[in-house]
């Protein structure tokens, strides 16, 4: 189970890194190479390789290693990054991503695309030069066969040293438990000869904090002996449990040392020090290198490079020490900013907060009845706090929409190359937040829309030239918040929609009848009908008439809606509107007869007194503006007589307003949205239910739907009064 969790963490981490890598590559393509961008790419490849290594995912390790080697050259200025290399690296990213997908499916033994791998490896090795693919450390003993090196399994070489290497970190309580590290070392010395011993004092605290009875010292020992492993192991038998004892036999693989460096608890301060302590270098060799480094002109080469150039240390050992240094730093900065939490736990928290809100409403109700000032005050404070907790809990699930947007630079780049069009992508509002669960479901619909815009919207360059438009087409992704919803727009400055052609097509397909009168936006929205496509040529991108209907279905499943704005010849905007949250809302309670309804507070504009006597068309004059309204009593066929004085609640959704006529206004209320059962999916005008403080159930009104139907009946009413027809036209949308 834990292994599974670790693997899924690996998959997730790899995906994030690949996204960062892709973003950095595209940055380089646009704005030239910067050290930060190159480092970001290198880091991504390097970290993926490291994590994959932990799980022995050899396929990933071997491939990322080649990528990493190439990036290392680029980073050291030995190779210049060019357009072909960028494309190659982008494709490598795709391939690694495919490998990661296989890991997620538990099929990591299979290669997702062997042909691509061969192709990519050939490309990479082309840059590296076959011989260069690996640098053989000079200090490796003859056992390291060159053929092994060609495949480059990390740590393939063996160290020269014919001594054992022991790393001892005694537990803090060994002295208290009556054991003295010195006696272990003395005993060890009886089994052979200590050739080198370094006492590590890094952990020794300052005078103040030092507990004289604790043990703080660590030891790095090189030890010449004919004793076997078991004997040497046996020396430390009594302290093994509470201490860290690492023993590396003579002529061990370099990998052993790398592992050692990575597991040593000391902060990896100075690379040279670690290497000396690790026995891979002598003090003298290190000194010589340090001298050289100081004598060099600014900026000095990193010491790691120098050690390798001096052929004193196998390259891989240096890399391990370096990466440990880096990881330490990176981890520290990241840990402070983020903490990973399982989605389940968040959901549970939000459920509990929902229950808390309901319970709080119940307490409020009791407080009002008791008419006890102190009690009332206490519950007021409580509900203020509950409200804050609710908001804070909901924001936990909110993520910036940039998470979805970030994949589009690559998509736009690739598609515009495929289509031979110059298209620039402009992203705004990437920081706008929405619920995490929506982010995932939004990716596919957006992809369809973007592809459509690029394929059908934006004209080929020569056509744009003829029409006097800028040669480079612009695709915009924009997001912003508006009255309780989040709006996402995909706009292009292409040819726009031809509504006559759409209508002709729709009539041809039998989607509408020829004598229907449709508004422009209704015509545009016909493209969301199943099986609708006006593209003359079916390309491999879009135009097959699937997609837009799926887009609408996906958006509607998120309680959102999508519509199209377009000016012929100038461009098209697809606008998606989604509710901000799926769980808890600020509601406004109204009453009809003795039924309570809740209207999302974000959508309430104002309330007014209302008298509908003698108004046949359901239109009221609100400060000179006509406003159509619905009577909830009629809409839901509620019994009882309307009171003499009714109330009008003005609601707005998007750009449209409408009025709702109710018997009484009850005021604000925090509503926990409970989904309606599938029995009610066909009921229009109800978005969900909630539980009131006294335990009764109230229905939450589906304002978007009500507003649309109110404005539709307004249109019908207007048509009726304008044309004086006996039967008003029926609108279909």
């Amino acid at each position: 189970m834990e292994l599974d969790a670790a693997r899924s963490a690996l998959v997730q981490e790899a995906r994030e890194l690949l996204a960062a890598m892709e973003a950095a590559l595209l940055d380089i393509e646009q704005g030239g190479a910067t050290p930060e961008a190159i480092n970001a790419i290198f880091r991504a490849a390097h970290t993926i390789k490291g994590s994959a290594g932990l799980f022995a995912l050899d396929g990933v390790v071997a491939f990322t290693h080649i990528v990493e080697s190439l990036l290392d050259r680029v980073r050291n200025g030995k190779l210049a990054i060019d357009e072909a290399m960028l494309s190659l690296l982008l494709r490598c990213g795709d391939y690694i991503s495919a490998l990661i997908d296989m890991i997620e499916d538990g099929r990591e033994r299979d290669d997702p695309d062997p042909a691509a791998r061969i192709d990519l490896e050939a490309g990479l090795n082309g840059y590296l030069g076959v011989k260069d693919a690996v640098h053989l450390p000079a200090t490796t003993s003859p056992q390291a066969e060159p053929s092994e090196a060609a495949v480059e399994i990390e740590g393939g070489g063996h160290v020269d040293a014919d001594t054992w290497h022991l790393s001892l970190r005694f537990g803090i309580d060994v002295l208290r438990n009556g054991m003295d590290p010195l006696s272990f070392i003395r005993y060890l010395a009886t089994l052979g000869r200590i050739t080198y011993l370094h006492t590590l004092v890094d952990n020794l605290p300052d005078a103040e904090q030092l507990d004289p009875e604790s043990c703080y010292l660590g030891f790095e020992i090189d030890f010449a002996s004919d004793a076997d492993r078991q004997t040497i192991d046996g020396v430390f038998e009594f302290v093994r449990d509470e201490s860290q004892i690492h023993i590396i036999p003579p002529h061990s693989k370099i990998a052993e040392y790398i592992k050692l460096i990575e597991t040593l608890p000391e902060p990896p301060k100075r690379l040279g020090e670690i290497l000396v302590k690790g026995g891979a270098l002598t003090e003298h060799e290190l000194e010589a290198i340090l001298d050289k480094q100081q004598a060099q002109p600014i900026p000095p080469k990193p010491i790691g490079t120098m050690l390798v150039e001096e052929k004193l240390v196998p390259g891989t050992v240096v890399a391990a020490a370096l990466s440990k240094q880096k990881q330490g730093e990176e981890k520290r900065t990241q840990e402070q900013r983020f903490i990973k939490v399982e989605v389940n736990k968040l959901d549970q928290l939000i459920n509990l907060v929902g229950e808390l809100v309901i319970a709080g409403a119940g307490a409020n109700l009791v407080a009002k009845k008791k008419q006890d000032n102190q009690f009332d005050e206490a519950t007021q404070t409580l509900s203020a706090l509950v409200e804050q907790i609710r908001d804070a809990a909901l924001t936990l699930r909110m993520v910036p929409i940039g998470e979805v947007f970030q994949r589009f630079p690559r998509v736009v780049r690739d598609i515009s190359k495929d289509l031979g069009k110059n298209i620039e992508l402009v992203i705004t509002g990437a920081e706008t937040e929405l619920d995490k669960s929506m982010v995932e479901k939004l990716a596919d619909p957006l992809m369809h829309i973007v592809r459509n815009a690029m394929d059908h919207g934006i004209e080929p360059t020569e056509v744009r030239l003829e029409r006097g438009k800028p040669l480079t087409g612009t695709l915009r992704l924009n997001a912003y918040h508006e009255s309780g919803s989040i709006v996402i727009e995909v706009s292009d400055d292409g040819k726009g929609l031809d509504h006559e052609r759409i209508l002709a097509k729709a009539i041809e397909r039998g989607l509408v009848s020829a004598d229907q009168v449709l508004s422009e936006s209704e015509i545009f929205n016909l493209v969301f009908e199943p099986g609708f496509s006006t593209a003359e040529a079916v390309t491999n991108l879009s135009g097959r008439g699937v997609g837009m209907d799926v887009v609408r279905k996906n958006i509607e499943s998120l309680r959102g809606e999508v519509d199209i704005l377009s000016v012929f010849g100038q461009g098209t905007t697809v606008r998606i509107r989604l509710p901000l949250t799926l769980a808890i809302i600020d509601g406004f309670q109204v009453m009809v007869n003795d039924a309570v309804f809740v209207i999302p507070l974000d959508m309430v504009i104002e309330c007014a007194d209302h008298s509908s006597a003698g108004n046949a068309h359901h239109i009221v004059n609100l400060r000179g503006e006509p406003l159509s309204y619905l009577r909830l009593r009629e809409l839901f066929e509620l019994p009882g007589e309307a009171p003499r004085r009714e109330s009008l609640v003005v609601v707005q959704y998007g750009q449209t307003r409408a009025g709702l006529v109710v018997d009484r206004l009850l005021g604000e209320f925090q509503a926990v949205i409970k989904p309606l059962g599938s029995l009610f999916t066909r009921v229009k005008g109800i978005g969900g239910s909630t539980i009131l403080g006294d335990g009764r159930v109230a229905l939450i009104l589906d304002v978007p739907h009500l507003v649309t139907s109110a404005s539709r009946s307004e249109g019908a009413a207007r048509d009726a009064s304008l044309s004086q027809q006996s039967s008003p036209q029926q609108n279909i949308g």
């Binding site: 005694f170 003295d180 070392i185 006492t199 300052d206 005078a207 009875e213 043990c215």
Partner: protein, 106 residues
Amino acid sequence: MALVIEQQGERILARIEGEFNIFRAAELKPALLECLASGHDIEIDLSHVDEIDTSGVQLMLMLKREAARTARQLSFVRHSAAALSVIDLLNLAGVLGDPVLITHLN
């Protein structure tokens, strides 16, 4: 089994006698730090130390560090055989930096 402290002009001479180990570490730490806090340079005489263990070594390292921090002179002198063999085993002669009289070994 004692810590003998004498003031010699501007210098404090502290002589650790007997064990310099875990059994006395708790007692020796504050006493030696107090000497250091007096503001004088200190010599710590190890000639009467007949046993030293890790905790003793730790105290030596700590005192050296503290002296450097407060810009005082602190040196260990007249190392006994026991002290010397530990310093030698742990390769600490360079770290502690005190001159060691080889003749004293005998």
